[in-house]
Structures are given as structure tokens and as C-alpha cells.
């Protein structure tokens, strides 16, 4: 199975390759020796129970947290990733907490999404904003409203839209469906699929395992700071061990679920 996986991943150009990534809080290791790969135009998902270290992993790749290991992004190895540099190089994170600028308008939030591009001389944010508005018509309606007054779903759309303003090569989404009603979750996943069609590579961390496995090409299961399983998403979706690991359901519950 392993050779098979690597085979399928080798065909693509790799956008992100993380090797032996380890994060410690004091003496507590929150993530140990994680290895993951994202191919160009792929959606790769990392699923796992609460507290497994998923958010920690994304933060470390982005450079928000100190880590040990290698992050190879777009052909250049970063010993110690620095957030601003990663952003400049085309990596964007939509964090679990969204981290919007609540007292600023929706439009200003979007404009700031293009800050790094503007700095490096790309002055095309008006056009990018038009694209974002097409993707999220709701944001256009709300554009002069303060971000802090948006509903949960709109906030998530704004967070994704803001990240897209940077025209990322790799978009990392941390729990995009968190706390959202099913209808909106569906909408969010529709957009994730749409983004792949536009050539954006996506690293998706999700608790909504079914939705994540359905939309993704490849998946990793993270458990207590370690990668416990990996494989093509479709394959993992049917693997009873995933259900066990992810839900933490013991043997007897599995049985019931498979029926």
C-alpha cells in the first residue's frame, strides 16, 4: 500500500513537503516527527481527534510556532519558517479562529489580504477582489459592514476570501466547517472543490471527517501528535480504523457504525 501511495504522489509536482516536523511546548511534545506531502493542485486533508495536534501542525508549517524539522515549500527548504516570508512566497493559512479584523470593514479586510502582494509590486487587488466577490457574492453585499458584525458562516467566507486575496499557491484551512450549520458547511466544501479546479493546492484540517475525505485526494490521520495512518482519501474513508481513530470509538461501536 505504501509504495502505491508514493507512486501516486510522485506523478505530481510537490508543493509542500514536511519532514520530521516536531513541536514542543516546554517539555511536552505536541507534534512528533510528522511527515506530509501536498502535490500541486491536490487537496490533502489531515483529520484526527481533538487535541491530536492538527492546529499545531499548521501553525508550525506557517511559522506561527517554533518547530524542528524541514518544511520544503515550492522547492525551497525553510529551516525555520517565518510567517511573513511564507506569506510572501505564496502560503496562506485560514486559522481556526479566523482572526479577522473585527473593527474594520469587510472590504478593508479583503484589501489587507493583498498586503504582501501589494508590497512586492503586484497592484492587481481590485481584480482579485472581483474574483473573490464572484466566489462569495454574500461578501459583496456586506462589503461596507464591519467584520465583527458578520454571522459565523460569513466570517468563514471572509477569512477564506481574505486568504485568496493573496493568490496563494498553497491554501491551508484549519477546521473551515467549525461551528457552521450544515447548509453552510456544504457551501464551504463546494468552494474548496472549486478552488482546486482553479489550481490552488489545499491542505485541509478537518473534524468533519466524512466531508473532508470526500473532497480530498489524499489523507493523513493524526493521533496524539503522531501520524497514525495515511492513504488516498477514498481508501481511508472506508477504513474502519479511521472511524475508530477519528472518533475514538472502541471496537463495539465500530460494528454498529459499519451497519
Amino acid at each position: 500500500m505504501n509504495a502505491n501511495i508514493h507512486g501516486s504522489n510522485l506523478i505530481l509536482k510537490t508543493v509542500l513537503e514536511v519532514r520530521d516536523l516536531t513541536v514542543s511546548y516546554g517539555k511536552v511534545e505536541a507534534l512528533s516527527n510528522a511527515n506530509i506531502k501536498v502535490g500541486e493542485g491536490q487537496i490533502v486533508t489531515v483529520i484526527g481527534p481533538n487535541g491530536a495536534g492538527k492546529t499545531t501542525m499548521l501553525s508550525a508549517i506557517m511559522g506561527l510556532l517554533e518547530s524542528r524539522g524541514k518544511v520544503d515549500f515550492d522547492g525551497t527548504i525553510e529551516g525555520v519558517p517565518v510567517v511573513e516570508r511564507m506569506v510572501a512566497r505564496g502560503m496562506n493559512l485560514v486559522p481556526e479562529k479566523r482572526e479577522l479584523f473585527g473593527e474594520m470593514t469587510v472590504e478593508d479586510n479583503l484589501v489587507l489580504g493583498a498586503f504582501q502582494r501589494h508590497r512586492s509590486g503586484h497592484r492587481d487587488h481590485a481584480q482579485t477582489m472581483e474574483e473573490v466577490y464572484q466566489l462569495f457574492p454574500r461578501l459583496r453585499e456586506r462589503r461596507s459592514q464591519l467584520a465583527g458584525t458578520l454571522s459565523g458562516g460569513e466570517r468563514q467566507m471572509l477569512a477564506v476570501g481574505r486568504a485568496l486575496m493573496a493568490k496563494p499557491k498553497l491554501l491551508m484551512l484549519d477546521e473551515p466547517s467549525l461551528g457552521l450549520a450544515p447548509l453552510i458547511v456544504r457551501e464551504i466544501f463546494r468552494i474548496i472543490g472549486e478552488l482546486r479546479r482553479r489550481g490552488v493546492s489545499i491542505l485541509l484540517v478537518e473534524q468533519n471527517a466524512r466531508a473532508a475525505l470526500q473532497v480530498a485526494d489524499y489523507a493523513y490521520v493524526l493521533e496524539t501528535g503522531e501520524i497514525a495512518m495515511e492513504g488516498p482519501a477514498r481508501q481511508l474513508a472506508d477504513d474502519p480504523r479511521v472511524i475508530e481513530a477519528y472518533l475514538g470509538l472502541g471496537g463495539k461501536h465500530q460494528e454498529m457504525l459499519s451497519t
Binding site: 516546554g26 517539555k27 511536552v28 505536541a30 481527534p49 481533538n50 487535541g51 465583527g148 458584525t149 454571522s151 459565523g152 477546521e175 466547517s177 467549525l178 461551528g179 457552521l180 450549520a181 450544515p182 458547511v185 456544504r186 466544501f189 473534524q207 468533519n208 471527517a209 466524512r210 466531508a211 473532508a212 470526500q214 496524539t224 472511524i243 472518533l247 475514538g248 470509538l249 472502541g250 461501536h253 454498529m256 457504525l257
Partner: protein, 600 residues
Amino acid sequence: MKPMFSPRLILGVFLAVLAVAPLVLSSFYVTLLNYIGLYALVALGLVLLTGVGGLTSFGQAAFVGLGAYTTAVLTTATELPGWLAWAGGSPWLALVVGLVFTAVVALVLGSLTLRLSGHYLPLGTIAWGISLYFLFGTLDTLGGHTGLTGVPPITVFGFELDRGEELFYLIWLFLLAAMLTTQNLLDSREGRAIRALKGGMVMAEAMGVNTARSRMIIFVIAALHACASGWLYAHLQRFVNPTPFGLHIGIEYLFMAVVGGAGQVWGALVGAGVITIAKQWLQDVLPRIFGQSGNFEVIFFGLMMVIVLQRARDGLWPLLARLVPVRATRRELDAAAEALPRKPLPAKGEVILEAKEVTRRFGGLVANNNMSLSVRAGEILALIGPNGAGKSTMFNQISGVDTPTSGEVLFLGRAVAGRDSREIARMGMSRTFQHVKLLPTMTVLENVAIGAHLRGDKGVLSSAWRLDRNEEARLLNEAARQIERVGLAEHMFDAAGSLALGQQRILEIARALAADPCLLLLDEPAAGLRFKEKQALAELLKKLRGEGIGILLVEHDMDFVMGLVDRVVVMEFGEKIAEGLPEDVQRNPAVLEAYLGGVE
């Protein structure tokens, strides 16, 4: 293996050196030592305030001034107003008056600023330090800028301390007494509350510690130390003028505390020594280098502070302490100490917690909608649901951290809303935190002892003079018992920060148990735990249930919950979607949908 010296030996040598110093040193060095002692006394207050408590004051020099001017006025005035006449002429009475006066001023200032966030206190002290300095200089009764002269020497048993060599002993006696009492205080019930101020306030409040009071205590103590230093200063100099009580001197005191090591009692002495000697030397050398006179040493002090805070935030003392290998002393537990009294637990099966139709809105967001649940004594109720379902918000409503928009939460029949965390803790509700809140540098034992805070009542004075040892032994014993109960006995004396995450979560449970609760609220206790640890935790919780404690468990991990709890409430989108026995709930299609997510 390096030779290890006992702390007692080192202290003995230090005291012996001090005792003979005035006999063998020239008066220049005795004077220098006198000043170091006076400054260290002020810096010691700042160590407590800044290094331990995470607050700071630039106005300590003004408190020194209060002490100095009070005694100068009282001992030199020919005519005192009638109500103060009793205090005239005696330095010792003047000390008492000065301390009382200082305490009042500190209480007023503290009550104004301590309720605000941390940086208002220092800003307030800058302003009041300047005001008082100008006031010293402009009030005629205080002699204006020339000050007051003719301050008499202090007499001890009829013996006049009118030479620096004699006052030396009094100064250092004050300093050593202050250091001893400060160290005693830090190693006590009140001391743990004070040490929790830096980084553990939410936790401490939940354990029943009145953090506002603790902040006030250290601010007043620091002011009193400064006042005593001023009193000694006035009688050493035999005159006072405003200059040594200005803001820049107040800043220098803070530098001493920070350079020496703001978290360490001995750091105050090191800092005062380094700064005083360096100042002496720089004031001599710099004007010659620069070819003009002026206080150029401040340039160096300023830059030195910046470098110390950039490179060695703990100051010089830890670096020095490493050079002298002192044997670590381990705390002895007194197994014979009498157990603490326990509150009677409610009868098993009695409803102790009841949430009725709780709704919580944040702006347009409904985080909890019409949530009801109840917990009985001797049962475990699990509140489960996927991430973002509103469990934490519900937890906050129950624990009184937040207040529902509508609906109410009753604990032992009384409303939780409107009570602060301390009161709720006193009623018998104890909790753990989703993101572990420990004081990482304190030992496991001390961390757990914070949980027993409300079961003791010895205050600052008894702690400072070790009159609290009986109670302290009982508190620590109780903490040790809880640590053994949860199975962390082998880590009793380790720093809490050195434990693995799972153990830290267990430690939190021990801390909550030390409060003698009838209801335990556990916020995701199994998150990040390994399989074996989860099993051990489950065993512990079963044991507690058997003893009649009610437990509310907020969890994400279904497996952990299923084999353990009596009843389950499942939340999604802020609402209750299912309630019942674990076996029934896990067959509920809505629950499965919520957990696995639905896509079609």
C-alpha cells in the same frame, strides 16, 4: 561531583562577614554598605511586587520620602498639632506613624489602580511620584528645597546610634528581617496566592483566591519596606531634602530589583549592591571621560537594563547562584498533621446542579440555545458534542465565568449568576481547565495546595513570622493526599511544567479535589491523553463517583465517555440534540450525524 554547601552554612558565613564588617572596614565602605542595605530594603519590596507579582511601581522613592519626611517632621517639629503631639520627638513612634501613613496612601493608590489592567499601576506611580516630589519641594512646613535639618539619632535602649558604624547593624537587621519574612511569606498559603498573580489569575480566582487582595497586599508591603528604608535614611543622614525621593531615584530602585533578579529575595541585595557600587564608580569616572559634570551614569544604567531585559530577564542572581553550589532542600511533609475538616457531601442522588433553559447570545450569534441539564450527587454526566457545538460556552455559564442571556443555573439550589468565581468555589464547585492552567515553575505539591486555599485562613502576618506552620502542614498534607489519590505521588516535588500534558491534566484534577468539592467540572480532561492514561483517569473518576461527588464532564472523545458515565447530553449548534443513557445516545442517528459530519 561539585561540593555541595548547605544553605545554612552559607547564610552563617554571610552573617559573620556582615557582623565584623564595620569593625574592619573604613568608614567609606561602611557608608557604602549602609546605602546598599537601605536600597536593598526598597528593592526587596519591588522584588515581591514586580518579580513575583508581575506588577510594578516607579514611585517607591516617594514612599521612601514619606517615611523620611514623617520622621523628620515629627522628631524636629517644635509644635505639633494637638492630635499628633503624642508622636513628637521619638523616632520609634515616628516609624509607626510613618508606616501607618504609608499604608493608607498605598491602599488609596492601590484601590484606584489595581482594579485596572497591569500597566495603570506603574503609570499611576510615575504621576504620583512626581507630584509628591514637587510637593516635598514646595511645602514650607517641609522646608522646601532645602529640606529639614537636625533630625535626631535613633536610640535603642538608651543607646544613641549616631555613627554610621552603629546604625549599620540596625539597617542590616531591618533588611535581614524583611528578607526572612518575605521568604517565609512566599512559602505559605498567602504566598502561593501571590505567586499565582503572574500568569495564573483566572485559575487562582477559580480556586477561591482573591487576586485583587493579593495584589494589594504586595503593593502595601512594598510601600512599607520603602517607608522603613526612608525612616532609617533620615536618621542616618540626620537631614532630609526632596532630591533622593524623585522619580529618577524611584526608577533606579526598579533597576536594582530587575538587574539583581526580580523574582528572588536575594536578587534585591545583589541588584542594590551592583547598582550602588557601579554608580559610585561611574560618577567618578564618567565626568572625566566626557569632560563635563552631570549624571551620565544613567546612560549606562539605562542601556544595562535594556540588555539585561533582552538577554537575561531573570537578572543576575540566578547567574550568581549557579556559581555557588547550594544543596537543594526538599520540603518535609508532616504525615502526622491533622486532616482538614470536610464539608458534608449532599446525599447521593440529590440534584446538585441544574441548568434551566440557558440561552447565551453573542451579538447575532446564538452560542447556547435553551439548554437544560442537571447533575446529581454521585453521578457522572457527560456533555458531549463536536468541536464548536457550544460546550465551552455552556461550561462557562455553569461555572459562573459567563452569565446567560436568559435562563438560569442553580447550584445547590442557589443561582450561580452574579456570583464571582471565588464564591462559587466556596460553595463546593471546583473545576479544571481545557487549556491546562498551572504555575509551571512551582512544584506539583504547591500547585495542588492552591486548590486548598479556601480551607485555610492564616494571613500575611502569621505567614511572615511562621505562625502558620500547623495549618500549612495540614494544607500540604491534604495536597499530598490528593496527589497520591490521583497517582502522581512520584512527581510530588517536580516542577509542574516538567510533567507530560496528560499528567498536567491529572494534576488539575488533584488541585480541584483539594478544594473538597461536591461537584467537579472537568473541561475535556481526556484530550491529549494516551490510552493508558485515559483508563487511569476513568478509574479515578469512577472512584470519585463512588464517594458521592457529582461530576460534569465536557468531552469530545466519545469512547472515553461511553464506558464511564451515567448519562449523556449531546450538543450541536448550541442546542441539545439528545439526552439519555450512553447506549441509547450512541445509536441516535442525529448524534452520529453530528460526529461524523453529513455530506450528501
